[in-house]
């Protein structure tokens, strides 16, 4: 495979042809904030946190879906990008009911850790306080729509890793929500294999293992690799 040389944040690096900017940056030890990206699952470019500046292109490009080109000069961090990223997070916090203090994922939440690492000290937009429910009908897992950020990781792992196709999205705009099968209680789903990949993939406390209380929903991120490679390595949980 041909290699491409490029510059990220002033650092000369080389990357495989076909690699994304995100791959290349990660290999070079440069961290780009992401939220909808999950290693091993195809990218959708939805959260817009990984937008970067590419010299000669006046649009901001998502690092997760943009392929590297020879001679690209990329900036992953600037005052403008930091501002946009912080605003994106503020919009997310205002959109649904993210109450960190009483969340199962408190302390293990990607949304929460991104917020503090990007310096978001408060949300300037009006909180929407929408009324969303909790689906507790499944025997093992729960889904709290109040904490969902619609990254669609659960949908993608359910369809493309597990192949069950239980999780999906209904509605549109701010009324979008993650549903099970034909928008029915998760516990009544015929297709759910109870594999728990969606729970492992969820960046927030929206999907959780039942029985976990505040701060207890610690996700074992090493299991994500298992999620990705289990099929090839034929490692199945009994």
């Amino acid at each position: 495979m041909a290699a491409k040389t490029l510059t990220i944040d002033g650092k000369q690096i080389s990357a495989d042809q076909g690699a994304t900017i995100l791959d290349a940056a990660t290999d070079a030890g440069i961290t780009i904030p992401t939220l909808c990206h999950l290693d091993g699952v195809y990218d959708v470019g939805a959260c817009r946190l990984c937008l970067v500046e590419v010299a000669g292109i006046n649009k901001l490009l998502p690092a997760c879906t943009t392929r590297v080109h020879e001679g690209m000069v990329i900036k992953t961090d600037s005052e403008r990008l930091r501002k946009y990223r912080r605003m994106t997070l503020e919009l997310l916090f205002a959109e649904r009911n993210h109450v960190c203090a009483v969340c199962v994922a408190n302390g293990h939440c990607e949304l929460q850790s991104l917020a503090y690492s990007l310096g978001m000290d408060h949300v300037r937009y009006d909180y929407r306080f929408p009324k969303w429910g909790v689906d507790n009908t499944h025997t093992l897992f729960g889904m709290d729509h109040n904490r969902c950020i619609l990254c669609m990781r659960c949908v993608r792992v359910c369809w493309h890793i597990e192949g069950a196709g239980t999780k999906n999205v209904s509605g549109r705009g701010s009324g979008s929500q993650i549903i099970s099968d034909l928008n029915q209680p998760w516990g009544t789903s015929d297709t759910c294999t109870r594999c728990g990949k969606c729970v492992m993939a969820c960046p927030t406390g929206a999907l959780f293992a039942k029985g976990a209380t505040v701060s207890e929903m610690e996700r074992d991120r090493t299991r994500l690799e298992f999620i990705v490679t289990a099929r090839e390595k034929k490692q199945w949980i009994a």
Partner: protein
């Protein structure tokens, strides 16, 4: 330099932030030597004074009483700090907002009637229970707030960081995990 005139106030919250403040332990002794605490739930002053330098605001703005005192504080204070998640995000008190506007009646019913062990009935006499606002607000949606000190409660070292910066005459500045909600 004059001693910093500091106040703290307890709006709609659980007082956990003030408990955390007391967790400053021996730093409280140092602090006592450097500031004048002019108004706080931990001292006995009834009226919020004029010419305050810094006020730490605990709690969300839940009722008209909260709103009134906060506005008075804003007018009489140089720097306001939202102190803890309830002031910064409205946090747990704002969970009633999910019930929609005009949830005040159902909240009062729940508290004073359904949950009452004796003498059920919502207290209606003026001055007993201040009227609830239609929506619980974070402090910065009611008045301008200068600095934010999140956490539920903010750990004592985080409070100490901000107070030390203020005492040194610096801009309070937190970063990284010190900004963590929850």
């Amino acid at each position: 330099m004059d001693r910093l005139r500091v106040a703290t106030v307890w709006l709609g919250g659980c007082s956990g932030c003030h408990m955390s403040f007391l967790d400053l332990d021996e730093f409280l002794i140092d602090l006592a030597g450097m500031i004048d605490l002019v108004y706080s739930p931990v001292i006995d002053v009834k009226e919020y004074p004029e010419e305050v330098d810094v006020c730490l605001i605990e709690g969300a703005v839940c009722n008209e009483d909260n709103l009134e005192i906060l506005r008075r504080i804003r007018a009489r204070t140089r720097l306001l700090v939202s102190f803890g998640d309830c002031a910064v995000t409205a946090n747990v008190p704002a969970i009633r907002n999910q019930l929609g506007l005009r949830n005040d009646e159902s909240v009062l019913q729940r508290a004073y009637v359904e949950g009452a062990q004796s003498n059920p009935g919502v207290p209606r006499e003026p001055g007993i229970v201040p009227p609830l606002l239609p929506q619980v607000l974070p402090a910065h949606q009611a008045v301008h707030i200068d600095y934010f000190l999140p956490g539920c409660p903010p750990p004592a070292d985080r409070i100490r960081t901000v107070l030390s910066q203020l005492l040194r005459g610096e801009e309070p500045h937190l970063e990284g995990e010190q900004l963590k909600f929850g």
